[in-house]
Subunit: 337 residues, 2 copies
């Protein structure tokens, strides 16, 4: 193992959250000669110097790891074989040329889908109950309910989900005790998966949006899906409906969403936006029937160790000569956000 140099570049808090002591000890057991550096140390020394002194074959990275140089010769000659990125998106960290040159890259894959699904359930139930509005009002005035409430329960609602990937599947499981009719628009997913999850197929987005009270956006952000949720579609949601986005902001025409919500007929609960951080002058920030979160759907602090453990499983696979799970290929890299 001593020849397979392993370098961990995580901040103190990333190390603590993703690899708390029992996991850290497990990693040290796998690679007793590992080196841990903070992002700041790497920045100060520069990647070239770090690579030439440590010669890492395996690199473990987090959100704050400095980007690798966009340099094909460096990528080819670095000697790095496997990069285990503990979080999700690798685009800001790894220039494409590293993957093109054969570097194996993995991320947290679907290991935290259940936590994003939980955020979805929370946004659905709080959006329907108008909890964001009331919590806000009660903190900023002497507000109390009047006779003209418009609260709504999830029981009895029809829920439509755009997409049926890992997060949507976890969400369907969390919704089971509500005994709801759930429909899905996801042309690429085979019928047996829909049957397994006991969800109905919609043949078009028009059908999905017009026949359900609650729409959950979970489609991947591909060029085809960019802006696919148009004003026309949003206006098809029956009155007093709720649009929840825990997927990717740019799938939705965000200006149209703000316009339709401003009319009061549609409520929304959003975790993701076309531009993040959400601009200060976004009209969404002015709408009290729109619940806003700053992209918190990913793993909560306490659940980062789930992603850390998943990364360790992948390192073990790699050391055994197997392929890690959730490998980022050139084609998934191109599609990623």
């Amino acid at each position: 193992m001593s020849t397979r140099n392993l370098l961990v570049v995580l901040s103190e808090s990333e190390k603590q959250d993703f690899l708390p002591l029992p996991l850290w000890e497990r990693l040290c057991g796998l690679a007793p000669d590992l080196t841990w550096m903070t992002p700041q140390e790497v920045e100060e020394r520069g990647w070239e110097s770090v690579f030439s002194s440590i010669k890492p074959k395996i690199l473990v990275t987090g959100w704050r790891t400095p980007p690798l140089p966009d340099d094909g010769i460096f990528a080819r000659e670095s000697g790095l074989e496997y990069l285990c990125h503990l979080p999700g998106s690798v685009r800001k960290l790894i220039p494409e040329v590293w993957i093109a040159n054969g570097l194996v890259v993995s991320n947290w894959g679907n290991s935290i889908s259940h936590v994003v699904a939980e955020c979805g359930l929370m946004l659905i139930t709080s959006g329907l109950r108008r909890a964001g509005y009331w919590n806000n009002a009660m903190h900023h005035s002497d507000a109390w309910k009047g006779p003209d409430l418009d609260t709504c329960s999830l029981f009895g609602r029809r829920v439509g989900i755009h997409g049926l990937g890992a997060i949507a599947r976890s969400l369907v499981r969390l919704l089971e005790p509500f005994g709801l009719e759930i429909s899905v628009y996801s042309p690429s997913v085979p019928q047996e998966v829909l049957d397994e999850y006991r969800v109905k197929r919609c043949d078009s987005l028009e059908e999905l949006f017009s026949k359900n009270n609650v729409i959950v956006e979970l489609a991947p952000l591909t060029p085809k899906n960019t802006g696919i949720v148009t004003e026309e579609l949003l206006r098809m949601i029956p009155d007093d409906g709720l649009f929840v986005n825990i997927g990717r902001g740019a799938v939705v025409d965000e200006d149209a969403l703000a316009r339709v919500c401003a009319e009061g007929r549609l409520h929304a609960a959003l975790d993701v936006y076309t531009i993040e951080p959400l601009p200060a002058d976004s009209p969404l920030r002015q709408l009290d029937n729109v619940t806003l979160l700053p992209h918190l759907g990913g793993p909560t602090v306490d659940q980062r160790q789930t992603a850390g453990a998943y990364g360790l499983d992948n390192i073990e696979r790699y050391l055994r000569g197997e392929e890690p799970e959730s490998v980022v290929t050139l084609s998934t890299y191109a599609r990623a956000t």
Copy 2:
């Protein structure tokens, strides 16, 4: 049936919410000679005049129905046999002397427990995710998350419930997909019920509060329970814990709760308060780690018809000579809030 005069006193909106057309038609089928009056009409004419002209034997009431006279002779001589209160609490509507004189009174009983449980699930998940704080911040400034998040998932939490009545049982069902360890303090509930719901018994409130990250308050407000959740108990909840109250406010020492939350070590999510409406100067309104709702846990507007249908079932029972469900006895009346 024509001798069993039935009087409905509901506002236009109560009638629409609790007894939408299909239910209203069902009621008219049961009692074709029924009279519908608005609360305002009753107030203008006075109960004496209403009773002497309509001679109701069955009275259907809502939140806005004017209180019956606190007059034993009137109660005895009114001829009223059964009062079907479509919502919950009857204390403000019916003076005790009517029940003492043999009037049968029923309310919505447990027909809407699942909707309160849903509110509980929502407050748990949003409290852990700090959704109230972030939604407020994003609406009142250009807020976006920084590196020092303290979000938490429900997955992996230990949940302790104080009480195991109908709402708590519904909540346990909604929590099932999370695969949690759930403990309950409810000395009066037999072991077979705990086994059926696969929850662990705690032998004391001290054990419940010290061994769980999330505490859900659902104990009934009896004299013994008033203020039973003391500062000492609240301080036993492990750091970064969450206290959720969807039961009765006065079960908790509210000043102590505000004090402990103000220190930052405990989060809270509250739907009920010792005094409702929550006073404008309540320190709870100043705390951004406390989620506040204005007692919305009861049936959402769309679910009021569930309580309406339950009331109709009870009227049918009564007309068949059976006892209605969820009858308010003198002893439950004395305990009610």
